[in-house]
């Protein structure tokens, strides 16, 4: 009989709006997998450093729209798939992608970007084997995190600096709604 360690490695999507929650959830997930003797690793957003470099640039040059930011996220995800996710899966390791697609789609949805455009943009990314979403804390308080910490925080901070009509707290509320709706439809598990 095959042992648990010989099971097919899985791509686990872990999505949520707050990076601090994603970090904690990813750690908990890894511990759970390890208790079943499953080797795993985490692929974080911005492994390519695209957003880090954008953050280093002058503030006036950071005037990117939601669509531009999603194109950058797609470029970063293509990098993660090429250098982290696919090689790790090929070597037999389970990968937790934190975040994966749903956080980006929730951001696009909150900014009213066309769904068919987003679906086509991310068509290169394989569907995950399992999906988790974080339990969203501090809904009423909106964003308090450092703008550079996570994808949703970073892009909301950038867009708020460009678009007079953009309310980051309202955007987060809409992102959470989208994540929860998607989670119900896809039977994702919630992790605290």
């Amino acid at each position: 009989m095959a042992s648990r360690t010989e099971a097919r490695p899985q791509l686990i999507a872990l999505d949520g709006t707050r990076h601090a929650d994603l970090r904690k959830a990813a750690r908990d997930l890894r511990e759970r997998l390890a208790s079943h003797k499953i080797k795993s690793g985490v692929s974080w957003w911005d492994a390519s450093g695209v957003f880090f470099e954008v953050g280093l640039g002058k503030k006036k040059h950071r005037a990117a729209s939601p669509r531009t930011l999603l194109l950058l996220y797609a470029a970063d995800l293509a990098f993660r798939l090429r250098w982290e996710i696919r090689p790790a899966l090929a070597s037999g390791q389970t990968v937790i992608a934190a975040p994966y697609l749903d956080t980006a789609l929730a951001f696009g949805e909150a900014c009213r970007l066309p769904r068919d455009w987003m679906a086509s943009l991310f068509a290169f990314a394989p569907a995950p084997d399992a999906r988790y979403v974080t339990r969203e804390r501090g809904r009423a308080s909106g964003w308090k995190a450092n703008g550079r910490e996570g994808f949703a925080e970073f892009v909301s901070t950038v867009v708020a600096g460009v678009a007079p009509s953009f309310d980051p707290s309202d955007a987060r509320r809409r992102m959470i709604e989208h994540l929860e709706t998607t989670a119900r439809r896809q039977k994702s598990r919630t992790i605290t």
């Binding site: 939601p66 669509r67 797609a74 460009v162």
Partner: protein, 263 residues
């Protein structure tokens, strides 16, 4: 996927307001002229001549160059030097660059009545990335909503002319020579192999998108006169239906919608 009723109704109202704004602005808007073609086809020389001539005629001119946005240019530069770009990443970063320049440079300039001259536009990426094996349909989606130029000048030259002009200035760089996909060590040999594919893609795009051909092998002044003539004969048309989505999104995010409505 279907839009929600609220979203549809919101869109309908916004669209009516937008159509009215575009009609008001139509007579004063600037024109977007794109200079396209393979390396060494003489685009930049002609672009500079044309820009100077336009200015001498009293036009306000804004020039925009490929992959030049302050947001994406540094990202591309580092990744090109490290030879770390896959065709998908390259295409997506260029799409981000064009979107940024559209929203920050091109559309504001056109809206204010300036003529925008683009030294390479969307078609450069489409031709090169299709030559790298990417699917044209996926690329067009990544670049959408597309913003169509009023005139696309496609400079055509033979492969030999392109190679000799490029090689006389410098050795083609890794990605310009297409070494990421040809796997050839010699940059010139790789350039010829890659550029053959790029030229074929330009020909296909030219048929689909109706570029105006300029023979890049003709004398420089002859080409320049033809470009002036094409520009002068070009009929000022309304902003195309296909450009409205890009304009609407830009106006929504910059708040122009509201500002102009309130005037």
């Amino acid at each position: 996927m279907t839009a929600t009723p609220a979203r549809t109704s919101q869109t309908r109202v916004a669209r009516k307001r937008l159509d009215a704004l575009l009609r008001e602005r139509e007579a004063d808007r600037g024109l977007l002229i794109a200079f396209e073609g393979p390396d060494g086809s003489g685009k930049t020389t002609q672009r500079k001549l044309f820009t100077r001539w336009l200015e001498s005629q009293g036009h306000r001119v804004v020039t925009t160059k490929w992959a030049s946005s302050p947001l994406v240019k540094p990202l591309l530069k580092v990744r090109k030097q490290a030879r770390a770009l896959s065709p998908e990443e390259f295409c997506l970063l260029q799409a981000a660059d064009l979107r940024y320049r559209l929203e920050q440079e091109i559309l504001p300039a056109l809206w204010s009545g300036a003529t925008v001259v683009a030294d390479r536009y969307l078609f450069t990426s489409l031709a090169r990335d299709a030559a790298r094996g990417l699917d044209l349909d996926w690329m067009l989606h990544a670049y959408s909503p597309l913003f169509w130029p009023d005139l696309v000048l496609n400079f055509t030259v033979s492969l030999d002319t392109s190679t000799s002009r490029v090689a006389s200035k410098h050795t083609p760089k890794y990605y310009d020579a297409g070494q990421d996909v040809t796997n050839l060590d010699d940059p010139i040999v790789s350039y010829r192999a890659f550029e053959t594919r790029v030229m074929r893609e330009y020909e296909n795009l030219s048929l689909i998108f109706r570029f105006v051909a300029v023979d890049g092998e003709r004398p420089i002044y002859e080409q320049h006169k033809r470009i002036r003539q094409l520009f002068q004969e070009g009929r000022r048309a309304a902003w195309g239906e296909w450009n409205v989505e890009a304009l609407a999104e830009w106006m929504e995010w910059t708040g122009i919608h509201e500002a102009d409505h309130g005037e």
